[in-house]
Each structure stands twice: as C-alpha cells, then as structure tokens.
Amino acid sequence: MTAIQHLGYPGWQAAFRWAEKQVTYGNIKVLGKVFGSKDKMVNVYGWQCKADQLVHEAELSDILVHFEADGIPWCRGEDVDSEFRADADVREYGHVFHLELDRDTERRRALARRLQVYAKGSDFVLFVAPHDRRIKQVREIGSFLGDQLLLTTYAKASKDPFGKNVWEDIYGNKCSL
C-alpha cells in the first residue's frame, strides 16, 4: 500500500480504494497479506511469488516505486536478465544496475554464490541490506566484485535511493545515483 501511495494518492485510504477497484476489474490480484512498516496488515499485489517471499517483494516495491516515479526503466520477476537473475534490473546512464534486496536470511556461503554470478559481467550491483552489520559482511564476501558493488541499507533506499551519499562501495567511498 505504501507503494501505491507513492504513485500520487494522498492517503492510504484513497490508495486502498483504487487497489480494491483494480482487483474487481481484474487488473491486479491479491497475493496475500503481510505486516507492513507500521505493524499494519497490508495486501500485496503484483506478480506471483511464493508465500515466504511476500515481504521481500513488498519491500522491493517500496524501492522500485522511486525509480518508477523518476521514469527510469526497470523490470523485475521473470523479466530480468536471465544470466544474472537479480531481484530487479534498472537501466540508468546507459548501464544496467542489478538490484539485489537482501533480508539477512541467506547464509554466508549462499550469498557468496549469489554474488559470484555478478562477477560474470561488469554491470553494477545495487545491494540493499537490512542493516549495517550485514553491509559489513557483504563487503567482505563480495570484495572480488571490486568496482561493481554498491551497498546501502533498506531504510535509506526505501526513503530515497537518489539521495546524496546514499550508496557506498566496498571501500567505503560514498556516492549517489
């Protein structure tokens, strides 16, 4: 719901009404319910995913909605580059940015395997981690990604991914999209 609000609806009630309408028209369908940011139960709409990925998808929408608002082309789900299979792909500056949203559920080894996939190409990887401790971990694990990996926390990314010095690389240099 927060995602729909970002698209220009003044309050969550208006947004809710719009979403309800869309469900009756058959444009979107309800996938399930999750606890949102303020401990409210909210619906999740969108492409089909497994039940345990609902929160992940909802959080991803919160980030992608900023890209949508700025008119930056993005894709998620089955439309992403099949070679890398990131959570979402964003196109900016004529480059592809693979967006990877992490919820600190993967173990180190699984994460390393995930990051090694990106080393096949030279595209940027936007890695969103839940907290700073995880960022520190990713920095160690993904050090071989060198000039590809950009890190930030979910709090920053969902607020404004284009903000000043939101992203940082593995050496701790700050930059902004």
Binding site: Y93, A119, F124, G146, D147, Y171, G172
Partner: protein
C-alpha cells in the same frame, strides 16, 4: 517589430569545401587508423621501432587514447612499463626504486617484507605448487569439487606471476581469459606431453563436469589473483586504465605462445570494442605477429580496423601466410617497413608490393602522410641536382623529360617537436633502379635502418631515437608526465574520500569512482560524453 536576422553563409568553392571535408573526416580517420607491418630478422630493431611508436603515441596530444601492446616474449613491455608505470607504483617512489636497482641487478626483486620472490627457480616452483594446492583445496572444499590436474596446471602460471612479482602482471589476466576460451587447439600444439595427456583426460569427462572445473578455476583467479593484481598496479584495473586514456601492456613473459594465441584475438577484439564505446583512438601493437601466433586469425579483422579508428602495428620475422589470403593480407597494410632481412623475404614482399608503387608521382609527400607523424616538423631539402639539363636549358632538359624528375631526389628531414627524439632522415625512391639499389642494400642494413612502403611510395629512413635508445632524460619525462596525470586524477573529488586521504591509503578504485566517472562523462564534465542522460 521583429528584428530581421540576416544569415551570412560563407560560400566556399566546391574544391575547397571538399578539401576541408577530407581534412576533417578522411585524414583524421586514416591518420589514426594506420596499419603497419614490420619485417626483419632478429635484432634488426623491429621491437625498438614499435617501442618508439608506442612512446610517440603516448606523447601525442590526443586527450584520451588507448594503447594495447602485446609482446609474447621479449622485454619491450618491461621497459615500456617501467616508463609508464614507474611513478604510479603503490607505496614506492622512483628514488627508492633506483636505489633498489643499484643494490640488486635486475628488477625482479626478492621482497623480504612481503615474503614474496625467491632466489632460486626451484624455490619458486615449490612455493607456487604449494599455493596452488592450498587454493585448489580451499575452493574444492567450498564447491565440493576435486580440481583436475590439468586445471591445476593452468593455475600454475597466474600464481607464479604473483609470486615472482613482475611489474605489469598482465599475463595473469591473459591466463584468466584463456581459461574462459578453453580452446582445444591450444593444447594440441603444445610440446608438453604431460599437459596433452592431462588435457585428454579432462576432455573425457562429461561436459557439465568440465564446465564445473573450469568455472572453479576461474573463480579462484577472480577472487584471489585479480584483486592482488589491481592492488599492485596501483589500483589500476586493466580495463579501467584503458578507459582513462592509458596504456594496456600485455607481457607474455614465460607463457608459451600457444597460450597467448587465442587470448590475443579475444583481447584485441575487446580492446576495439572498448575504444569504440569510449570513442578513443586506439593503437594496437603486436610483436611476433607470425603465422603460428596471431596473424592468420586476424586477417579478417585487420581490414575492419580502419572502420573502428584503430591503428595496428605488427612485427614479424618472416611472414608466411596461407596462399589464399596472402595478397589480401599484404594489401591490407598501408605501410610496410622492411628491416634487415633475407633475400627470400624481400623477393616475396616485392612481388606483392612492386605493382602498387607509383614512382612518377609529382610530389612525393602529402598531408595524409604528415598526419602519421603528428609530433614532427617536416623540413624539405632539395639535393643538388645531377642533371646537366638544369644548368644548360634553364631548368628543363628538352631531350629527356623523364630523367629530369627521376634524377632529382628529395631529402626530407623530420625534426621532432619533442626534444627527446632524434631526427629522421628520409629519401624517396623515384625510379625503379633506385628501389632495386635500396633493396639490395636491405640485406646489409644496419639495425634500425628500414625501407618503407607506404601509400604507393617507397622511401628509406632510420628509426628515430636510435642514437640513444634509452636516454635518461626521456625516462624522467615519462615519469613526470605520469605523475602529473596521477596528480590530476587525485584532484577529482570522487577519487579519494577524506577518510582515505587522512589515512594516506593507496588509491583504490571502487564502484563509487566508476559510477561518478560515468555520471561526469554524461554530464559533459570530461571528454567522454557519448550519450544522453536517460533518467
């Protein structure tokens, strides 16, 4: 009332307009995309000429330019890299290095602080094997894979390169590429029976298993070797360096030619794509450009290079190309330089090039040629004419009009704009007799003297800078230039964080640096604006 804007158009005569257009488009293009072939016996200064060319290219005033120097064996790359990279080395100053050179002859050093480098070959070999085993076990533990002996063999060279601490360390990346290609020919022509046997064993495995093996080896290199290479070359990534108007030097070192071969073509294509994307002029120099190495694979690419604004200089001892592409191959080079060489080579070459030479050209130099030597001033000096016709008939011999032009030869002296280079003396061949005379001399030529065929003309000249091959002043210049370049880079705000500056850490290029580079290029802060902001 609206003001009337009178548009003034400058009307040029059609010829002049054509001339300007040619200047802008054609000449720039041809000048930057020259293709040169150097032929000569060993020690006839082919590589020296290439080195001079690389230095010239480095000093030319284009703002961003790429250089790809592939030297499968030989020390040209070492001496070049000493010039280019000496000042940029992390945590070492030039003076320190000079001191070290005084202390120990040679510049492959034993570094007791880092525990790298060894006095004896056996020591190196044992240490490399130990490292390979450790890495293979580690990776095997991670991925539950037992690395095949052949794959371990491949890992030997990159690790060895790390341990020996050769300065450019580019062969490491060469190996990295080769592993990606996993070409079969590579090994079939290898002389090492053990390698062949191991490879056959590897080939017998199922396809998925082979891919797993190769993938594991690649990952070892990616996670262990490449970061160290980046760190040691002062933070310069090999691609990154090309992007920022730098040089890319490939040193084959001890790696066999068959290892370098498939990599060579791959790398050349990658470099061309890079130059194309970044819109930088690129010069590719390949030493040992003979049939076994790279030439027969690249015959098609050479013709296309002009399109991509890419220059090529190839050195070969005796070109023996397949018959079917021989003629096309010769003619795809704009410029052929013949150093001291045997009569057979000469005969072979003249067979193809003689019909292309225009002896009776009115004026033997034109501006396209001048563009090739951008760093030179050209002085023309008429030789004293031997024709009596000039003296007796007021400049013209009524009886023999042709001899008038043939007996006069023009000496052209190239005086360098940069003081470091020596002058080059050039004399054109204006008759077939002159060419034959010069051709017979070819076999007794001194090193550095060359017979040049270029755009339908032939002339004799010497490689500049031959008098003093490695003047200390020049070395200083390059170091200074490189240091200036580094200083300039350091001034950019994104290049160093305040934190890093406070700690005085070595320069490290991360994603932030790369991203801001792209952003700046797109915003037009630097030269590389090659697209619009899409956001």
């Amino acid at each position: 009332m609206n003001s009337i804007i009178a548009k003034r158009t400058i009307e040029l005569p059609a010829e002049r307009r054509q001339q300007i257009l040619t200047n802008v488009f054609v000449r720039q293009r041809t000048a930057r995309a020259k293709r040169t072939l150097r032929i000569g016996s060993p020690g006839s200064w082919k590589s020296g000429a290439s080195e001079v060319e690389a230095c010239e290219w480095w000093l030319t005033p284009f703002e961003r330019q790429g250089l790809l120097f592939i030297d499968p064996h030989g020390d040209t790359v070492e001496s070049l890299s000493r010039r280019f990279f000496a000042a940029g080395r992390a945590s070492r100053t030039v003076l320190d290095e000079l001191d070290q050179k005084k202390a120990v002859p040679g510049y492959l050093q034993y570094n007791p602080v880092q525990g790298e480098g060894f006095e004896s070959e056996v020591g190196v070999h044992n240490e490399v094997m130990r490292q390979v085993e450790i890495l293979a076990d580690e990776r095997g533990h991670m991925e539950r894979i037992n690395l095949h002996p052949f794959v371990r063999q491949w890992l030997y060279w990159p690790i060895r390169a790390l341990i020996r601490d050769r300065e450019p360390l580019r062969q490491v990346l060469a190996m990295y590429q080769v592993l990606g290609d996993r070409s079969r020919n590579l090994v079939e022509q290898s002389n090492d029976r053990a390698v062949q046997a191991a490879f056959a064993e590897l080939c017998a495995l199922p396809r998925m298993e082979i891919e797993r093996q190769v993938g594991a080896a690649r990952r070892i290199i990616e996670s262990y070797v490449v970061p160290q290479v980046r760190e040691r070359s002062g933070g310069w990534d090999w691609c990154g360096f090309l992007e920022d108007g730098g040089a890319l030097l490939i040193d084959g070192g001890n790696v066999a030619q068959e290892v370098m071969r498939p990599f060579c073509l791959n790398l050349v294509l990658r470099a061309i794509v890079y130059a194309r994307l970044r819109r930088v002029p690129l010069l590719i120099i390949i030493d040992e450009f003979n049939r076994g190495f790279a030439s027969h694979m690249m015959a098609d690419q050479i013709e296309q290079m002009a399109k991509f604004l890419t220059g090529l200089s190839a050195c070969a001892q005796a070109p023996d190309f397949p018959k079917e592409i021989e003629k096309r191959f010769w003619q795809s080079f704009q410029r052929v330089e013949l150093f001291q060489s045997s009569a057979e080579v000469l005969k072979d070459m003249l067979h193809h090039l003689w019909p292309l030479i225009d002896f009776h050209r009115e004026h033997h130099r034109d501006t396209t040629w001048q563009q090739f030597h951008d760093g030179f001033d050209e002085i023309e000096r008429e030789k004293v004419s031997r024709t009596f016709g000039k003296q007796h008939h007021g400049g013209k011999n009524p009886y023999d009009t042709e001899t008038e032009s043939t007996t006069t030869s023009t000496d052209i002296i190239l005086r360098p704009k940069y003081r470091e280079f020596a002058t080059e003396n050039i004399s054109y061949m204006r008759t077939e007799d002159q060419l034959i005379e010069a051709a017979t001399d070819v076999m007794q030529q001194a090193p550095g003297e060359r017979l040049v065929f270029e755009n339908g003309r032939a002339y004799w000249g010497t490689v500049p800078w031959l008098a003093s091959p490695f003047p200390p002043a020049l070395e200083r210049t390059y170091e200074k230039r490189f240091e200036e370049f580094l200083c300039e880079m350091r001034e950019r705000p994104y290049f160093r964080t305040p934190q890093a500056e406070a700690e005085n850490q070595p320069i490290r290029i991360g994603a932030a640096w790369r991203l801001s580079n792209i952003q700046n290029a797109l915003n037009g802060h630097s030269n590389g604006s090659n697209g619009a902001h899409q956001g």
